[in-house]
Protein backbone atom coordinates (compact mmCIF):
# COMPACT_ATOMS: atom_id res chain seq x y z
CA UNK A 1 0.00 0.00 0.00
CA UNK A 2 1.39 3.38 -1.01
CA UNK A 3 0.82 6.32 1.34
CA UNK A 4 1.11 10.06 0.91
CA UNK A 5 4.27 10.14 3.03
CA UNK A 6 5.98 7.90 0.47
CA UNK A 7 6.07 10.88 -1.94
CA UNK A 8 8.50 13.81 -2.05
CA UNK A 9 6.77 17.04 -3.07
CA UNK A 10 8.93 18.68 -5.76
CA UNK A 11 6.60 21.66 -6.26
CA UNK A 12 2.88 22.34 -5.57
CA UNK A 13 1.76 20.03 -8.40
CA UNK A 14 4.63 17.55 -8.78
CA UNK A 15 5.25 14.60 -6.47
CA UNK A 16 7.88 11.88 -6.69
CA UNK A 17 8.24 8.34 -5.46
CA UNK A 18 12.02 7.82 -5.38
CA UNK A 19 13.67 4.83 -6.99
CA UNK A 20 14.64 3.63 -3.51
CA UNK A 21 10.96 3.08 -2.64
CA UNK A 22 11.06 -0.47 -3.99
CA UNK A 23 14.11 -2.54 -4.74
CA UNK A 24 13.01 -3.53 -8.24
CA UNK A 25 12.37 0.06 -9.44
CA UNK A 26 14.78 1.24 -12.13
CA UNK A 27 13.62 4.89 -12.19
CA UNK A 28 11.50 7.16 -9.96
CA UNK A 29 7.78 7.83 -10.54
CA UNK A 30 6.58 11.41 -10.88
CA UNK A 31 2.93 12.36 -10.63
CA UNK A 32 1.45 15.69 -11.63
CA UNK A 33 -1.38 16.34 -9.18
CA UNK A 34 -2.82 18.82 -6.73
CA UNK A 35 -2.80 17.61 -3.14
CA UNK A 36 -6.48 16.74 -3.42
CA UNK A 37 -6.07 14.79 -6.66
CA UNK A 38 -3.08 12.92 -5.21
CA UNK A 39 -5.06 11.94 -2.12
CA UNK A 40 -7.95 10.74 -4.29
CA UNK A 41 -5.55 8.76 -6.46
CA UNK A 42 -4.37 6.78 -3.45
CA UNK A 43 -7.87 5.31 -3.25
CA UNK A 44 -7.17 2.85 -6.07
CA UNK A 45 -4.13 0.94 -7.28
CA UNK A 46 -2.95 3.35 -9.96
CA UNK A 47 0.24 4.47 -8.18
CA UNK A 48 1.15 0.87 -7.34
CA UNK A 49 0.73 0.13 -11.05
CA UNK A 50 3.03 3.06 -11.92
CA UNK A 51 5.64 1.68 -9.50
CA UNK A 52 5.35 -1.68 -11.29
CA UNK A 53 5.95 0.10 -14.61
CA UNK A 54 9.13 1.62 -13.12
CA UNK A 55 10.65 -1.89 -13.08
CA UNK A 56 10.69 -2.32 -16.88
CA UNK A 57 14.12 -2.81 -18.47
CA UNK A 58 15.61 0.10 -20.41
CA UNK A 59 13.57 2.89 -18.85
CA UNK A 60 15.05 6.38 -18.91
CA UNK A 61 14.56 9.35 -16.57
CA UNK A 62 11.27 8.68 -14.76
CA UNK A 63 7.78 7.24 -15.17
CA UNK A 64 5.25 10.04 -15.56
CA UNK A 65 1.73 9.95 -14.12
CA UNK A 66 -0.84 12.50 -15.28
CA UNK A 67 -3.51 14.06 -13.01
CA UNK A 68 -6.31 12.17 -14.80
CA UNK A 69 -4.72 8.90 -13.69
CA UNK A 70 -6.81 5.96 -12.65
CA UNK A 71 -6.33 2.26 -12.18
CA UNK A 72 -5.93 0.24 -15.34
CA UNK A 73 -4.34 -3.15 -15.96
CA UNK A 74 -0.53 -3.38 -16.01
CA UNK A 75 0.06 0.32 -16.68
CA UNK A 76 -2.21 2.85 -15.01
CA UNK A 77 -4.37 4.92 -17.36
CA UNK A 78 -2.59 8.28 -17.53
CA UNK A 79 0.91 6.79 -17.55
CA UNK A 80 3.92 7.68 -19.69
CA UNK A 81 7.17 5.68 -19.80
CA UNK A 82 10.13 5.91 -22.18
CA UNK A 83 12.51 3.05 -22.93
CA UNK A 84 15.83 3.48 -24.67
CA UNK A 85 16.58 1.94 -28.05
CA UNK A 86 17.88 -0.53 -29.05
CA UNK A 87 17.45 -2.93 -26.14
CA UNK A 88 14.91 -1.18 -23.92
CA UNK A 89 11.57 -2.95 -24.00
CA UNK A 90 8.23 -2.36 -25.67
CA UNK A 91 5.17 -3.50 -23.73
CA UNK A 92 1.83 -4.02 -25.54
CA UNK A 93 -0.01 -3.66 -22.22
CA UNK A 94 1.71 -0.26 -21.83
CA UNK A 95 -0.06 0.94 -24.95
CA UNK A 96 -3.37 -0.76 -24.27
CA UNK A 97 -5.92 -2.87 -26.11
CA UNK A 98 -7.53 0.08 -27.86
CA UNK A 99 -4.40 1.01 -29.81
CA UNK A 100 -4.49 4.64 -30.96
CA UNK A 101 -7.67 5.38 -29.12
CA UNK A 102 -7.67 9.09 -29.73
CA UNK A 103 -9.69 12.21 -30.23
CA UNK A 104 -10.07 14.90 -32.85
CA UNK A 105 -11.73 18.28 -32.76
CA UNK A 106 -13.28 20.00 -35.77
CA UNK A 107 -14.06 23.70 -35.95
CA UNK A 108 -16.94 25.40 -37.75
CA UNK A 109 -18.22 28.86 -38.66
CA UNK A 110 -21.69 27.91 -37.38
CA UNK A 111 -22.85 30.01 -34.45
CA UNK A 112 -24.85 28.42 -31.67
CA UNK A 113 -27.68 30.91 -32.27
CA UNK A 114 -28.21 29.86 -35.88
CA UNK A 115 -27.82 26.12 -35.08
CA UNK A 116 -29.94 26.04 -31.93
CA UNK A 117 -33.29 25.18 -33.62
CA UNK A 118 -31.64 22.25 -35.43
CA UNK A 119 -29.58 20.68 -32.63
CA UNK A 120 -32.00 17.84 -31.98
CA UNK A 121 -32.13 17.03 -35.71
CA UNK A 122 -28.34 17.17 -35.75
CA UNK A 123 -28.21 14.67 -32.87
CA UNK A 124 -30.50 12.28 -34.79
CA UNK A 125 -28.56 12.68 -38.04
CA UNK A 126 -25.19 12.07 -36.36
CA UNK A 127 -26.62 9.00 -34.61
CA UNK A 128 -27.94 7.70 -37.93
CA UNK A 129 -24.81 8.42 -39.99
CA UNK A 130 -22.16 7.31 -37.49
CA UNK A 131 -22.72 3.66 -36.49
CA UNK A 132 -22.26 3.19 -32.74
CA UNK A 133 -22.81 0.54 -30.09
CA UNK A 134 -21.67 -3.01 -29.44
CA UNK A 135 -21.01 -5.29 -32.41
CA UNK A 136 -22.03 -2.70 -34.98
CA UNK A 137 -20.72 -2.82 -38.54
CA UNK A 138 -19.59 0.10 -40.67
CA UNK A 139 -20.76 1.20 -44.08
CA UNK A 140 -17.31 0.70 -45.63
CA UNK A 141 -16.90 -2.81 -47.00
CA UNK A 142 -13.25 -3.81 -47.17
CA UNK A 143 -11.72 -6.67 -49.07
CA UNK A 144 -8.64 -8.32 -47.53
CA UNK A 145 -6.46 -6.34 -49.94
CA UNK A 146 -8.19 -3.05 -49.14
CA UNK A 147 -7.79 -3.69 -45.39
CA UNK A 148 -4.04 -4.13 -45.88
CA UNK A 149 -4.00 -0.74 -47.61
CA UNK A 150 -5.82 0.84 -44.64
CA UNK A 151 -3.25 -0.75 -42.31
CA UNK A 152 -0.31 0.59 -44.30
CA UNK A 153 -1.71 4.00 -45.24
CA UNK A 154 -4.08 5.14 -42.46
CA UNK A 155 -5.43 8.62 -43.20
CA UNK A 156 -3.79 8.59 -46.63
CA UNK A 157 -6.09 5.68 -47.55
CA UNK A 158 -9.03 7.77 -46.35
CA UNK A 159 -7.93 10.68 -48.54
CA UNK A 160 -7.49 8.47 -51.62
CA UNK A 161 -10.98 7.06 -51.10
CA UNK A 162 -12.80 10.34 -50.62
CA UNK A 163 -13.13 10.29 -46.82
CA UNK A 164 -10.52 12.97 -46.08
CA UNK A 165 -9.21 16.25 -47.40
CA UNK A 166 -5.52 16.98 -47.78
CA UNK A 167 -5.82 19.43 -44.86
CA UNK A 168 -7.32 16.67 -42.67
CA UNK A 169 -4.24 14.53 -43.25
CA UNK A 170 -1.84 17.39 -42.47
CA UNK A 171 -3.67 18.09 -39.21
CA UNK A 172 -3.41 14.55 -37.86
CA UNK A 173 -0.64 13.31 -35.55
CA UNK A 174 2.04 11.66 -37.74
CA UNK A 175 -0.15 12.81 -40.68
CA UNK A 176 -2.32 9.82 -39.88
CA UNK A 177 0.22 7.21 -40.92
CA UNK A 178 2.86 5.32 -38.95
CA UNK A 179 5.48 4.26 -41.48
CA UNK A 180 6.52 1.01 -39.79
CA UNK A 181 3.18 -0.74 -40.32
CA UNK A 182 3.49 -4.28 -41.67
CA UNK A 183 0.24 -6.23 -42.15
CA UNK A 184 2.16 -9.53 -42.27
CA UNK A 185 2.73 -9.11 -38.52
CA UNK A 186 -1.04 -9.06 -37.87
CA UNK A 187 -3.06 -12.23 -37.22
CA UNK A 188 -5.91 -13.38 -39.44
CA UNK A 189 -8.19 -13.01 -36.43
CA UNK A 190 -7.40 -9.31 -36.10
CA UNK A 191 -8.04 -8.83 -39.81
CA UNK A 192 -11.35 -10.70 -39.58
CA UNK A 193 -12.43 -8.39 -36.77
CA UNK A 194 -11.19 -5.26 -38.53
CA UNK A 195 -12.80 -5.72 -41.92
CA UNK A 196 -16.44 -4.95 -41.02
CA UNK A 197 -15.78 -2.27 -38.38
CA UNK A 198 -14.11 0.63 -40.18
CA UNK A 199 -16.12 3.82 -39.65
CA UNK A 200 -17.73 2.74 -36.39
CA UNK A 201 -17.68 4.46 -33.02
CA UNK A 202 -18.04 1.46 -30.69
CA UNK A 203 -19.32 1.70 -27.13
CA UNK A 204 -17.94 2.48 -23.65
CA UNK A 205 -16.44 5.94 -23.29
CA UNK A 206 -16.32 6.61 -27.04
CA UNK A 207 -18.46 9.47 -28.27
CA UNK A 208 -19.21 12.15 -30.81
CA UNK A 209 -20.02 15.55 -29.37
CA UNK A 210 -21.18 18.85 -30.78
CA UNK A 211 -19.91 21.58 -28.48
CA UNK A 212 -20.17 25.30 -28.13
CA UNK A 213 -16.85 27.10 -27.78
CA UNK A 214 -17.54 28.67 -24.43
CA UNK A 215 -14.39 30.66 -23.70
CA UNK A 216 -11.11 31.50 -25.40
CA UNK A 217 -7.93 31.73 -23.30
CA UNK A 218 -5.26 32.12 -26.01
CA UNK A 219 -6.56 34.31 -28.85
CA UNK A 220 -3.67 33.78 -31.27
CA UNK A 221 -3.74 29.99 -30.98
CA UNK A 222 -7.53 29.85 -31.12
CA UNK A 223 -7.48 31.95 -34.32
CA UNK A 224 -4.92 29.62 -35.91
CA UNK A 225 -7.17 26.69 -35.02
CA UNK A 226 -10.35 28.37 -36.28
CA UNK A 227 -11.93 28.34 -32.80
CA UNK A 228 -14.16 31.33 -31.99
CA UNK A 229 -16.33 31.81 -28.90
CA UNK A 230 -19.98 31.05 -29.61
CA UNK A 231 -19.26 28.80 -32.60
CA UNK A 232 -19.86 25.05 -32.79
CA UNK A 233 -17.06 22.49 -32.65
CA UNK A 234 -17.23 18.71 -32.99
CA UNK A 235 -15.23 16.07 -31.11
CA UNK A 236 -14.85 12.45 -32.20
CA UNK A 237 -13.35 10.01 -29.67
CA UNK A 238 -12.70 6.39 -30.67
CA UNK A 239 -9.94 3.96 -31.59
CA UNK A 240 -8.98 0.87 -33.54
CA UNK A 241 -12.03 -1.22 -32.57
CA UNK A 242 -11.81 -5.04 -32.54
CA UNK A 243 -8.78 -4.90 -34.83
CA UNK A 244 -6.60 -3.14 -32.24
CA UNK A 245 -8.01 -5.19 -29.36
CA UNK A 246 -7.02 -8.39 -31.16
CA UNK A 247 -3.52 -7.13 -32.03
CA UNK A 248 -2.87 -6.33 -28.38
CA UNK A 249 -4.38 -9.61 -27.13
CA UNK A 250 -2.31 -11.62 -29.62
CA UNK A 251 0.96 -10.01 -28.56
CA UNK A 252 0.29 -9.97 -24.81
CA UNK A 253 -0.21 -13.74 -25.12
CA UNK A 254 2.74 -14.27 -27.48
CA UNK A 255 5.11 -12.26 -25.31
CA UNK A 256 4.37 -14.38 -22.23
CA UNK A 257 7.07 -16.67 -23.66
CA UNK A 258 9.41 -13.84 -24.63
CA UNK A 259 9.88 -12.58 -21.07
CA UNK A 260 11.28 -15.97 -20.12
CA UNK A 261 13.51 -16.04 -23.19
CA UNK A 262 14.95 -12.60 -22.39
CA UNK A 263 15.06 -13.28 -18.65
CA UNK A 264 12.83 -10.34 -17.78
CA UNK A 265 11.28 -10.37 -14.31
CA UNK A 266 7.94 -8.62 -13.98
CA UNK A 267 5.66 -7.83 -11.03
CA UNK A 268 2.55 -8.21 -13.24
CA UNK A 269 2.10 -10.45 -16.29
CA UNK A 270 0.12 -7.74 -18.07
CA UNK A 271 3.42 -5.83 -18.36
CA UNK A 272 4.91 -8.49 -20.67
CA UNK A 273 7.40 -6.97 -23.04
CA UNK A 274 10.29 -7.68 -25.37
CA UNK A 275 13.40 -5.70 -26.29
CA UNK A 276 12.66 -3.21 -29.08
CA UNK A 277 15.39 -4.74 -31.24
CA UNK A 278 14.22 -8.34 -30.72
CA UNK A 279 12.19 -10.14 -33.42
CA UNK A 280 9.15 -10.18 -31.09
CA UNK A 281 9.52 -6.46 -30.25
CA UNK A 282 9.84 -5.50 -33.91
CA UNK A 283 6.85 -7.61 -34.92
CA UNK A 284 4.67 -6.10 -32.21
CA UNK A 285 5.72 -2.57 -33.19
CA UNK A 286 4.84 -3.25 -36.85
CA UNK A 287 1.44 -4.70 -35.84
CA UNK A 288 0.77 -1.82 -33.44
CA UNK A 289 1.50 0.63 -36.25
CA UNK A 290 -1.13 -1.17 -38.39
CA UNK A 291 -3.70 -0.73 -35.60
CA UNK A 292 -2.70 2.92 -35.21
CA UNK A 293 -3.26 3.48 -38.93
CA UNK A 294 -6.60 1.67 -38.74
CA UNK A 295 -7.67 4.03 -35.94
CA UNK A 296 -6.60 7.15 -37.86
CA UNK A 297 -8.64 5.93 -40.85
CA UNK A 298 -11.56 5.04 -38.56
CA UNK A 299 -11.79 8.54 -37.09
CA UNK A 300 -11.46 9.97 -40.58
CA UNK A 301 -14.35 7.89 -41.98
CA UNK A 302 -16.46 8.96 -38.98
CA UNK A 303 -15.50 12.57 -39.72
CA UNK A 304 -16.77 12.11 -43.29
CA UNK A 305 -20.09 10.80 -41.92
CA UNK A 306 -20.31 13.66 -39.40
CA UNK A 307 -19.85 16.11 -42.28
CA UNK A 308 -22.66 14.37 -44.17
CA UNK A 309 -24.92 14.70 -41.12
CA UNK A 310 -24.13 18.43 -40.83
CA UNK A 311 -24.86 18.93 -44.52
CA UNK A 312 -28.12 16.98 -44.32
CA UNK A 313 -29.42 19.07 -41.42
CA UNK A 314 -27.87 22.51 -41.89
CA UNK A 315 -27.43 23.02 -45.66
CA UNK A 316 -29.42 26.10 -46.64
CA UNK A 317 -30.10 26.96 -42.99
CA UNK A 318 -26.68 28.32 -42.04
CA UNK A 319 -24.09 30.15 -44.13
CA UNK A 320 -21.33 27.53 -44.03
CA UNK A 321 -21.89 24.06 -42.58
CA UNK A 322 -18.39 22.75 -43.28
CA UNK A 323 -16.27 21.20 -40.50
CA UNK A 324 -12.49 21.79 -40.52
CA UNK A 325 -10.17 19.48 -38.65
CA UNK A 326 -8.25 21.33 -35.93
CA UNK A 327 -6.12 18.34 -34.91
CA UNK A 328 -6.28 14.59 -34.28
CA UNK A 329 -4.24 13.01 -31.51
CA UNK A 330 -3.66 9.53 -30.15
CA UNK A 331 -3.73 8.73 -26.48
CA UNK A 332 -2.82 5.01 -26.50
CA UNK A 333 0.35 4.64 -28.50
CA UNK A 334 4.04 3.74 -28.53
CA UNK A 335 6.16 6.18 -30.52
CA UNK A 336 9.84 6.28 -31.42
CA UNK A 337 10.97 9.80 -30.54
CA UNK A 338 14.18 11.67 -29.75
CA UNK A 339 14.28 13.29 -26.32
CA UNK A 340 16.98 15.14 -24.43
CA UNK A 341 17.83 13.12 -21.30
CA UNK A 342 20.52 14.41 -18.95
CA UNK A 343 21.83 16.74 -21.66
CA UNK A 344 22.04 14.07 -24.37
CA UNK A 345 19.73 13.30 -27.27
CA UNK A 346 18.39 9.79 -26.82
CA UNK A 347 16.12 7.76 -29.10
CA UNK A 348 13.35 6.24 -27.01
CA UNK A 349 10.05 4.45 -27.36
CA UNK A 350 7.53 6.59 -25.49
CA UNK A 351 4.61 4.52 -24.20
CA UNK A 352 1.59 6.75 -23.69
CA UNK A 353 -1.36 4.94 -22.18
CA UNK A 354 -4.21 7.33 -21.57
CA UNK A 355 -1.84 10.22 -22.22
CA UNK A 356 -1.50 12.63 -25.13
CA UNK A 357 1.56 13.72 -27.05
CA UNK A 358 1.95 17.45 -26.33
CA UNK A 359 4.97 18.73 -28.24
CA UNK A 360 5.99 22.34 -27.86
CA UNK A 361 6.67 25.01 -30.50
CA UNK A 362 9.21 24.34 -33.23
CA UNK A 363 8.35 20.71 -33.88
CA UNK A 364 8.72 20.16 -37.62
CA UNK A 365 5.94 17.59 -38.06
CA UNK A 366 3.34 20.15 -36.97
CA UNK A 367 1.36 21.92 -39.71
CA UNK A 368 2.89 25.30 -40.52
CA UNK A 369 0.10 27.25 -38.82
CA UNK A 370 0.84 25.54 -35.47
CA UNK A 371 4.62 25.25 -35.70
CA UNK A 372 5.40 28.43 -33.75
CA UNK A 373 2.59 27.86 -31.25
CA UNK A 374 2.92 24.20 -30.25
CA UNK A 375 0.85 21.10 -30.82
CA UNK A 376 -2.91 21.27 -30.18
CA UNK A 377 -3.91 18.94 -27.32
CA UNK A 378 -7.55 17.91 -26.89
CA UNK A 379 -8.85 16.98 -23.45
CA UNK A 380 -12.39 15.62 -23.50
CA UNK A 381 -14.17 15.88 -20.17
CA UNK A 382 -17.16 13.91 -18.98
CA UNK A 383 -20.37 14.26 -20.97
CA UNK A 384 -22.24 16.80 -18.87
CA UNK A 385 -19.34 19.10 -18.18
CA UNK A 386 -16.76 20.49 -20.56
CA UNK A 387 -13.70 19.77 -22.68
CA UNK A 388 -10.52 21.67 -23.35
CA UNK A 389 -8.22 22.51 -26.22
CA UNK A 390 -4.67 23.11 -24.98
CA UNK A 391 -1.23 23.67 -26.48
CA UNK A 392 1.88 21.60 -25.82
CA UNK A 393 4.87 23.45 -24.38
CA UNK A 394 8.64 23.31 -24.51
CA UNK A 395 8.72 22.49 -20.79
CA UNK A 396 6.64 19.38 -21.42
CA UNK A 397 9.54 17.95 -23.44
CA UNK A 398 11.73 17.87 -20.32
CA UNK A 399 9.08 17.18 -17.71
CA UNK A 400 6.92 14.56 -19.41
CA UNK A 401 8.53 13.38 -22.69
CA UNK A 402 6.32 15.91 -24.49
CA UNK A 403 3.07 14.57 -23.04
CA UNK A 404 -0.06 15.77 -21.31
CA UNK A 405 -3.20 14.30 -19.75
CA UNK A 406 -5.92 12.82 -21.99
CA UNK A 407 -9.22 13.43 -20.20
CA UNK A 408 -10.86 13.85 -16.82
CA UNK A 409 -10.09 10.37 -15.47
CA UNK A 410 -12.52 8.10 -13.67
CA UNK A 411 -13.02 8.19 -9.92
CA UNK A 412 -15.89 5.75 -9.67
CA UNK A 413 -16.08 2.16 -10.88
CA UNK A 414 -18.71 1.35 -13.51
CA UNK A 415 -20.52 -0.78 -10.94
CA UNK A 416 -20.56 2.10 -8.43
CA UNK A 417 -21.70 4.56 -11.12
CA UNK A 418 -24.65 2.33 -12.02
CA UNK A 419 -25.53 2.01 -8.32
CA UNK A 420 -25.50 5.79 -7.88
CA UNK A 421 -27.08 6.92 -11.14
CA UNK A 422 -29.95 5.65 -13.29
CA UNK A 423 -29.44 6.10 -17.02
CA UNK A 424 -32.97 7.39 -17.62
CA UNK A 425 -32.69 10.00 -14.83
CA UNK A 426 -29.31 11.12 -16.10
CA UNK A 427 -30.72 11.47 -19.60
CA UNK A 428 -33.56 13.66 -18.30
CA UNK A 429 -31.15 15.77 -16.26
CA UNK A 430 -28.74 16.35 -19.14
CA UNK A 431 -31.61 17.15 -21.50
CA UNK A 432 -32.94 19.68 -19.00
CA UNK A 433 -29.52 21.37 -19.25
CA UNK A 434 -30.02 21.68 -23.00
CA UNK A 435 -27.81 18.72 -23.96
CA UNK A 436 -29.26 16.50 -26.69
CA UNK A 437 -28.31 12.86 -26.06
CA UNK A 438 -28.48 9.80 -28.27
CA UNK A 439 -27.30 6.65 -26.52
CA UNK A 440 -27.61 2.99 -27.34
CA UNK A 441 -27.78 1.81 -23.74
CA UNK A 442 -29.13 3.43 -20.55
CA UNK A 443 -26.87 1.41 -18.19
CA UNK A 444 -23.98 2.36 -20.51
CA UNK A 445 -24.97 6.01 -20.15
CA UNK A 446 -25.06 5.68 -16.34
CA UNK A 447 -21.54 4.23 -16.35
CA UNK A 448 -20.34 7.39 -18.08
CA UNK A 449 -22.17 9.78 -15.72
CA UNK A 450 -20.29 13.02 -15.02
CA UNK A 451 -20.04 12.18 -11.31
CA UNK A 452 -18.02 9.04 -12.20
CA UNK A 453 -15.22 11.31 -13.40
CA UNK A 454 -12.84 13.87 -11.91
CA UNK A 455 -13.48 17.56 -12.54
CA UNK A 456 -11.77 18.11 -15.90
CA UNK A 457 -11.17 21.80 -15.10
CA UNK A 458 -9.09 20.85 -12.05
CA UNK A 459 -7.14 18.27 -14.07
CA UNK A 460 -6.39 20.90 -16.72
CA UNK A 461 -5.39 23.42 -14.04
CA UNK A 462 -2.74 20.96 -12.83
CA UNK A 463 -1.14 20.36 -16.26
CA UNK A 464 -1.12 24.12 -16.90
CA UNK A 465 0.39 24.91 -13.49
CA UNK A 466 2.98 22.19 -14.05
CA UNK A 467 3.85 23.93 -17.32
CA UNK A 468 3.23 20.97 -19.62
CA UNK A 469 0.31 22.62 -21.45
CA UNK A 470 -1.40 25.99 -21.98
CA UNK A 471 -5.12 26.71 -22.16
CA UNK A 472 -6.58 27.69 -25.55
CA UNK A 473 -10.34 27.14 -25.35
CA UNK A 474 -13.03 25.53 -23.23
CA UNK A 475 -15.86 23.66 -24.93
CA UNK A 476 -19.29 22.82 -23.52
CA UNK A 477 -21.44 19.95 -24.85
CA UNK A 478 -24.68 20.54 -26.75
CA UNK A 479 -25.10 17.16 -28.46
CA UNK A 480 -23.69 13.82 -27.23
CA UNK A 481 -23.74 10.59 -29.24
CA UNK A 482 -22.76 7.46 -27.34
CA UNK A 483 -22.77 3.80 -28.30
Amino acid sequence: MIRKQDFRRLNPVTWEIPQSFRQDMRVPVRIFASEKILEATLGDRSIEQAVNVATLPGLVSHVVVMPDVHQGYGFPIGGVAATKLPDGVISPGGIGYDINCGVRVLSSEITVDEAEPWLDDLASALYAHCPSGVGVKGSVRLTAKALDKVLRQGSEWAERNGFATFEDVLRTEEQGRLADADPSCVSDRAKQRGRPQLGTLGAGNHFIEVDIIEEIFHAEAARAMGLYAGNLAVQIHCGSRGFGHQVCSDYVRELQNAVQRYNIRLPDRELVCAPLDSPEGKRYFAAMACAANYAFANRQVLTHHARMAFEEVLAGKVGNWDLSLVYDIAHNMGKIEIHRIDGEEVTVCVHRKGATRAFGPGFEELPEEYRDLGQPVIIPGSMGTGSWVLLGTEASMNLAFGSSCHGAGRTMSRKQAKRSVRGEQLLTKLESQGIHIRAGSMPGLAEEAPQAYKDVDKVVDVVCEAGIAKKVARLKPLVVIKG
Binding site: Q71, Y73, Y97, A203, V252, Q256, R269, E270, T411, S413
Partner: protein, 144 residues
Protein backbone atom coordinates in the same frame (compact mmCIF):
# COMPACT_ATOMS: atom_id res chain seq x y z
CA UNK B 1 -29.96 -24.91 -19.50
CA UNK B 2 -30.99 -21.26 -19.44
CA UNK B 3 -27.94 -19.11 -18.85
CA UNK B 4 -29.43 -16.93 -16.11
CA UNK B 5 -30.68 -20.01 -14.22
CA UNK B 6 -27.23 -21.46 -14.48
CA UNK B 7 -25.75 -18.29 -13.07
CA UNK B 8 -28.16 -18.31 -10.14
CA UNK B 9 -26.86 -21.72 -9.23
CA UNK B 10 -23.30 -20.59 -9.55
CA UNK B 11 -23.66 -17.12 -8.07
CA UNK B 12 -21.50 -17.86 -5.07
CA UNK B 13 -18.74 -18.87 -7.44
CA UNK B 14 -18.82 -15.64 -9.46
CA UNK B 15 -18.35 -12.33 -7.70
CA UNK B 16 -18.01 -8.91 -9.32
CA UNK B 17 -15.28 -6.82 -7.70
CA UNK B 18 -14.67 -3.07 -7.88
CA UNK B 19 -12.31 -1.72 -10.53
CA UNK B 20 -12.12 2.00 -11.32
CA UNK B 21 -12.21 1.77 -15.10
CA UNK B 22 -12.67 -1.78 -16.19
CA UNK B 23 -14.51 -4.86 -14.99
CA UNK B 24 -13.22 -7.59 -12.71
CA UNK B 25 -14.66 -10.86 -11.40
CA UNK B 26 -13.48 -13.28 -8.75
CA UNK B 27 -14.16 -16.87 -9.75
CA UNK B 28 -14.16 -20.02 -7.65
CA UNK B 29 -14.42 -23.65 -8.70
CA UNK B 30 -14.17 -26.96 -6.89
CA UNK B 31 -11.76 -28.09 -9.60
CA UNK B 32 -10.10 -26.53 -12.65
CA UNK B 33 -12.93 -27.65 -14.93
CA UNK B 34 -15.51 -25.82 -12.82
CA UNK B 35 -13.26 -22.76 -12.49
CA UNK B 36 -12.93 -22.42 -16.27
CA UNK B 37 -16.64 -23.05 -16.75
CA UNK B 38 -17.60 -20.44 -14.14
CA UNK B 39 -15.23 -17.90 -15.70
CA UNK B 40 -17.03 -18.32 -19.04
CA UNK B 41 -20.47 -18.07 -17.41
CA UNK B 42 -19.43 -14.94 -15.49
CA UNK B 43 -18.17 -13.28 -18.64
CA UNK B 44 -21.32 -14.19 -20.59
CA UNK B 45 -23.48 -12.87 -17.76
CA UNK B 46 -21.73 -9.49 -18.07
CA UNK B 47 -22.09 -9.36 -21.86
CA UNK B 48 -25.85 -10.03 -21.69
CA UNK B 49 -26.13 -11.56 -25.14
CA UNK B 50 -29.43 -12.72 -26.59
CA UNK B 51 -30.15 -15.29 -29.31
CA UNK B 52 -32.26 -15.37 -32.43
CA UNK B 53 -34.48 -18.38 -32.87
CA UNK B 54 -32.50 -20.86 -34.88
CA UNK B 55 -30.65 -24.07 -34.91
CA UNK B 56 -28.48 -24.86 -31.89
CA UNK B 57 -25.12 -26.27 -32.85
CA UNK B 58 -22.92 -28.32 -30.57
CA UNK B 59 -19.22 -27.62 -30.95
CA UNK B 60 -16.04 -29.00 -29.43
CA UNK B 61 -13.49 -26.45 -28.26
CA UNK B 62 -9.97 -27.79 -27.81
CA UNK B 63 -7.27 -25.35 -26.68
CA UNK B 64 -3.71 -25.56 -25.37
CA UNK B 65 -1.47 -22.98 -23.73
CA UNK B 66 1.84 -22.66 -21.89
CA UNK B 67 0.20 -22.51 -18.45
CA UNK B 68 -3.24 -22.41 -16.87
CA UNK B 69 -3.42 -18.61 -16.71
CA UNK B 70 -2.67 -18.31 -20.43
CA UNK B 71 -5.19 -21.09 -21.04
CA UNK B 72 -7.83 -19.07 -19.15
CA UNK B 73 -7.19 -15.97 -21.28
CA UNK B 74 -7.13 -18.06 -24.48
CA UNK B 75 -10.42 -19.78 -23.54
CA UNK B 76 -12.33 -16.60 -22.79
CA UNK B 77 -10.91 -14.83 -25.86
CA UNK B 78 -11.97 -17.79 -28.01
CA UNK B 79 -15.58 -17.33 -26.91
CA UNK B 80 -15.45 -13.54 -27.42
CA UNK B 81 -13.92 -13.89 -30.89
CA UNK B 82 -16.57 -16.36 -32.03
CA UNK B 83 -19.37 -14.19 -30.68
CA UNK B 84 -18.11 -11.16 -32.58
CA UNK B 85 -16.98 -12.67 -35.87
CA UNK B 86 -19.26 -15.69 -36.23
CA UNK B 87 -22.21 -13.98 -34.52
CA UNK B 88 -23.04 -16.81 -32.15
CA UNK B 89 -24.35 -16.87 -28.60
CA UNK B 90 -23.61 -19.61 -26.10
CA UNK B 91 -26.64 -21.19 -24.46
CA UNK B 92 -24.65 -23.83 -22.63
CA UNK B 93 -21.03 -24.47 -21.87
CA UNK B 94 -19.64 -27.65 -20.46
CA UNK B 95 -15.94 -27.79 -19.74
CA UNK B 96 -15.07 -31.47 -19.88
CA UNK B 97 -11.37 -31.42 -19.17
CA UNK B 98 -8.62 -29.09 -18.03
CA UNK B 99 -5.43 -31.02 -17.76
CA UNK B 100 -1.78 -30.37 -18.63
CA UNK B 101 -2.64 -26.87 -19.87
CA UNK B 102 -5.23 -28.25 -22.31
CA UNK B 103 -8.95 -27.46 -22.22
CA UNK B 104 -11.69 -29.42 -23.91
CA UNK B 105 -15.26 -28.16 -23.77
CA UNK B 106 -18.59 -28.70 -25.51
CA UNK B 107 -20.44 -25.47 -26.24
CA UNK B 108 -23.96 -24.96 -27.59
CA UNK B 109 -24.05 -22.16 -30.15
CA UNK B 110 -27.15 -20.32 -31.37
CA UNK B 111 -27.42 -17.35 -33.77
CA UNK B 112 -26.56 -14.13 -31.93
CA UNK B 113 -29.26 -11.45 -31.76
CA UNK B 114 -27.57 -8.76 -29.67
CA UNK B 115 -24.90 -7.98 -27.09
CA UNK B 116 -25.49 -5.34 -24.43
CA UNK B 117 -21.95 -4.90 -23.11
CA UNK B 118 -18.68 -4.91 -24.98
CA UNK B 119 -15.56 -6.59 -23.63
CA UNK B 120 -12.48 -5.37 -25.47
CA UNK B 121 -10.10 -7.93 -24.03
CA UNK B 122 -9.31 -10.41 -21.29
CA UNK B 123 -6.20 -9.19 -19.47
CA UNK B 124 -3.41 -10.96 -17.60
CA UNK B 125 -3.48 -8.25 -14.92
CA UNK B 126 -3.00 -9.90 -11.51
CA UNK B 127 -4.14 -13.18 -13.07
CA UNK B 128 -3.11 -16.10 -10.91
CA UNK B 129 -5.00 -19.35 -10.53
CA UNK B 130 -4.56 -20.43 -6.94
CA UNK B 131 -5.36 -23.71 -5.26
CA UNK B 132 -7.36 -23.38 -2.02
CA UNK B 133 -8.76 -25.87 0.50
CA UNK B 134 -12.05 -25.80 -1.43
CA UNK B 135 -10.66 -25.95 -4.95
CA UNK B 136 -9.41 -23.04 -7.04
CA UNK B 137 -9.82 -19.27 -7.12
CA UNK B 138 -8.79 -16.53 -9.53
CA UNK B 139 -9.49 -12.90 -10.40
CA UNK B 140 -9.95 -11.83 -14.01
CA UNK B 141 -9.82 -8.21 -15.16
CA UNK B 142 -11.52 -7.38 -18.47
CA UNK B 143 -10.83 -4.26 -20.52
CA UNK B 144 -14.26 -2.79 -21.27
Amino acid sequence: MDESARLDQENIAIEEIEHTADWAIRIRGKDLKTLFQNAALGMLHFIQASSHRGKTRSKLVDLRAIDNETLMVTWLEELLFNMETHEVNYTDIEVREVENCRLRAIVQETPLASIKKEIKAVTFHDLKIQATDDGYITTIVFDV
